[in-house]
Subunit: 206 residues, 4 copies
DNA sequence: TATGAATGAGCCTTCATTCAT
DNA sequence: CATGAATGAAGGCTCATTCAT
């Protein structure tokens, strides 16, 4: 597990840091979604966040820090939401619930997902590694559910299949965020979810 | 279908345009892959292409034109390669062949795929639409194959399923390009392909 | 003679002012020596001094005030140390003693000397004049000693020579601070001192 | 001997580089003299030089490069001027001529001297070393003249004296540039020169 | 008195684009 | 057609200074 990548701040009040960073992240997501990381200026981010450029830089050191904070915050939020259902007992029903849950999270955080996957390549090396690890953790959540199902006799999968299908489930969920320009025209979230669940379960031999 | 998005040039000689653009695209892919669209400078692109910045601007109008040319060229190359097998007769075997073919193209053009999907959001609006349309065409290739299979009685899918699964097939292929940092460690292209084919066919009820 | 250049403070307690300014000057000399006036930030100065930026500004009005305080303090210290031997009776021996004394002071306060001469140009006009006057006072100390020697018949110098040689003595001492990167390799302070004394006395016709 | 410290340029035409750098150096000396290195902005330098900020940066990489170019150019000019009289035959008269020559150069290039000695501390490490070496070369010019005089029997100096007095001669010349605010009021260059020559020769036992 | 968060003018530097040769 | 020097708008970031607590 990677050590948490720290972002330098010259402010001491922890509560204030929390508050300002929250403002900053909200502003950044809005702007990154609209124009991407590179076209969004630090001045715009500060303004959108409701404070001055000087203040912004009291809480970060480089523009890339903002991106890191955004990615980190999104992953944490996703993790929090997903881990609510992580207590499982290895049934197909659990898997379905988890997928439904995951898809709903993606729907809720569409913009964040798109921003994160589109822009994380601009992170500096250390931060990128940290974020990729978070991605692996997310895949692990599903891998573990699959492993439980296998151990429970609900699914019959090799290890290679287990790993790959965990990725597949995660990726199929991301589709909903990335391809909404076309999928939204044809499916509701519920339709999409149920179709994908059916497909995935069939795919794994029910 | 969108009209082909034109890129202004002040050069008349069509052969020269073709040649220079080819050099330019190769250079741009290399650089975009390495540092992304925004961090690659027009000077670097010109240099990598083997001519001067002045010459570069004889063949394009803006830096975004380079990106457009890159995306367009990649899509065309993919289309060319895929359309070689588009003449089908609606069997499951055809579908498998098409998927294998598609996955091999993705493997061959990993860098190009990643560049295209990561950077196309930086295209100006008109060009973006044109490129998204190309994406739809690609999905259509698979949709048609599925439709053929359905009409042939090889598959039993609703229209909603047909459309969605076309997307799914395309997206699962992209996984190979985007997640190579982790998938490459665990699977060869062949293993990945066969696992995914099995999963997809099962997913669609074989 | 210039009136003492005053530095505004919003603090009343004289003892506190004295104490804080002392801390501040020590900190500033350290930092100016290390990175120069312009590269040292007020924040750093405050931190090095052991209090907050807010407190720093309770005792000064601008960053240049810090520099002024530093220069003023150094000159005062040098004056104090030199004036201990200012009671003279016009012998060559007195001159030698004064020079030895001066050179020792320079050796003790190398960093301060370098800071003062390198950075005083950044003083605001009024403060600069005040400081230049202090420099003249220092030259006067030696001029007076020379005048005494002349009146005593120990030296035979025109007024023009007296003035110039006072400068020369002062400047040759500064050499020890400014050129220590090379002089230190070849001479000890004592060797340097005696060689220069011999040179100066010969120079003035013994 | 240090290798010449190179300054990157993106311009290829050597003549143009020469010309532009000359403009740039003239502009920089003017501004550095007036407000010092740190207070002079790159925009001001470009404007004073007669071209745009963009053009300035075609010929340098950082602001410190400008300072380096200034220092290098000054040293070279001084060297060129001094080396015209470097062919000596070891007489006291040669020494006098060299000193007169040197003092005239200092008088001609007062501003440049002051700028160089005041600001060179802001050079990046590598460049600073290179420039300090130039300073040593200058001292060497006088050291060699002294050595010649000693070998010729015109002067009787130990090696320690020879080295130190070379420094002293150089430093006494710099006085004229640094203390002109006071020396100019009392002496003409000629008076200053002759007094110092007399002093130096006496100092070395005639 | 002491603190430190907030401010924003201003600096250095980059880079897409133009145009004279 | 090709070249590359010139341009300047714009961006990231710093830091002296202020002021509410």
């Amino acid at each position: 597990m990677e050590k948490k990548h720290e972002v330098k701040t010259s402010v001491k009040d922890e509560n204030l840091i929390e508050k300002r960073r929250h403002q900053m992240i909200r502003a950044a997501v809005t702007l990154f979604k609209e124009k991407g990381f590179h076209r969004a200026t630090t001045r715009e981010i500060a303004k959108e966040a409701g404070f001055s450029i000087g203040t912004l830089y009291e809480y970060i050191r480089t523009k890339e820090d903002v991106l890191y904070l955004v990615c980190d915050s999104i992953y944490n939020e996703v993790h929090d939401k997903l881990s609510q259902i992580s207590a499982q007992n290895g049934t197909i029903e659990d898997l379905k619930t988890a997928i439904r849950h995951y898809y709903r999270v993606i729907d809720d955080m569409q913009d964040e997902f798109v921003v994160m996957y589109q822009e994380s390549k601009s992170l500096p090396k250390g931060a990128l590694e940290y974020v990729l690890n978070k991605e692996l953790e997310m895949i692990n959540i599903f891998r573990k559910i699959l492993v439980d199902c296998v151990q429970n006799g609900e699914l019959r999968l090799t290890e290679a299949q287990t790993n790959l299908y965990a990725h597949t489930i995660v990726v199929q969920g991301q589709m909903w965020a990335f391809r909404r320009w076309v999928l939204r025209k044809e499916y509701t979230l519920e339709q999409f979810t149920e179709l994908q669940i059916e497909f995935v379960l069939n795919g794994m031999g029910k």
